[in-house]
Chain length 171, copies 2
DNA sequence: TATTGTTATACTCTATAACTATA
DNA sequence: TATAGTTATAGAGTATAACAATA
């Protein structure tokens, strides 16, 4: 794949001086070749910010955000997650999970069910309403991601997926 | 590259029932094959959280965080960024830039200099102290990223870089 | 003793609107 | 009229400690 244009390979000093000529040069073009523009962590943070904003906007009509969508998704799976497990997988503090589940439960989308093997633990499961909402939200999110990666081949998407999984789970 | 083990390809239902046997199965292993575990946006968010936490810990002795480090990095480049440009490139609100620059300026790391071509605008430039701190921080950050990608070939790193740039800047 | 979920709290990050000084 | 920076403020996200119930 090839995402960078030849313009981006131009030296930043030349671009800086060309500003005086009045040509509108975007901040992206002016800074893309600095240290930070080459910094993987920064790119990761910016990519996430872009995608997170897009997904939040997408889910707004359903009164969901990326966080609540993530919890709902796992609640809709057949894995019977506990709150502790949700906290680990979503990389959130257990107290944040409490607040997220509280709101989803108030809306009748998930239920806290007692875990027969450990009465300290709650199993989080989606209600029928939760499953229905997820059936609406899931395809929306998938389509948005599809669009964001539309210029990548199937092989490239697999690679990107592999890289992110590696970093996200230290594998 | 190949980051997933054969264990991860096992069905989640089998894993769920195996819990009763008492084998300690991590949340990662239990959920990695759910919809969410295959969700690029989620992986992006988690990868960013992992890396951001690592970098914040790394920079703590220098009293920097990823945000202030980013601003300092651009201030140290030869591009003479305005606050507006910093906001665009870092994907932050201009008011957040104000607060970040305020703290860096108090510490004597950067200066607001008047832009001769537009008196509304400030050019942000690193002081000698700022350059010195960045000379310390930059290699630390680079080394940490190097470590996080140590299992990737040079070609794979290029690919990851390309993917993230694409998503981060809609290219 | 250790762990799950809970509550309370504080701090950081993010988003919005209104203001000023310049253009 | 529009833009760069500023201020104030509120809301979302993050982190910590302490507690009750249970293991």
């Amino acid at each position: 794949m090839e995402t960078r244009t030849s313009a981006q390979l131009t030296g930043s000093a030349a671009e800086a001086t060309s500003r005086q000529a009045g040509a509108a040069v975007s901040a992206t073009d002016r800074f893309i070749d600095t240290d930070l523009g080459q910094d993987v962590d920064f790119l990761l943070a910016r990519a996430r910010a872009v995608r997170s904003a897009a997904t939040n906007a997408l889910l707004e009509p359903l009164d969901l955000r990326v966080r609540s969508y993530s919890v709902l998704s796992l609640a809709c799976s057949d894995t019977n997650p506990s709150q502790k497990e949700l906290a680990q997988f979503l990389d959130l503090d257990p107290s944040q999970i409490v607040a997220l589940i509280d709101r989803l439960e108030e809306r009748g989308l998930v239920r806290r069910e007692p875990d027969p093997r450990d009465r300290r633990s709650n199993v989080i499961r989606a209600t029928a309403a939760g499953q229905a909402l997820y059936a609406e939200a899931g395809p929306l999110v998938a389509k948005s991601q599809e669009l964001a990666m539309s210029s990548l081949t199937a092989r490239d998407r697999e690679r990107l997926f592999g890289y992110l999984t590696m970093v996200a789970f230290n594998r």
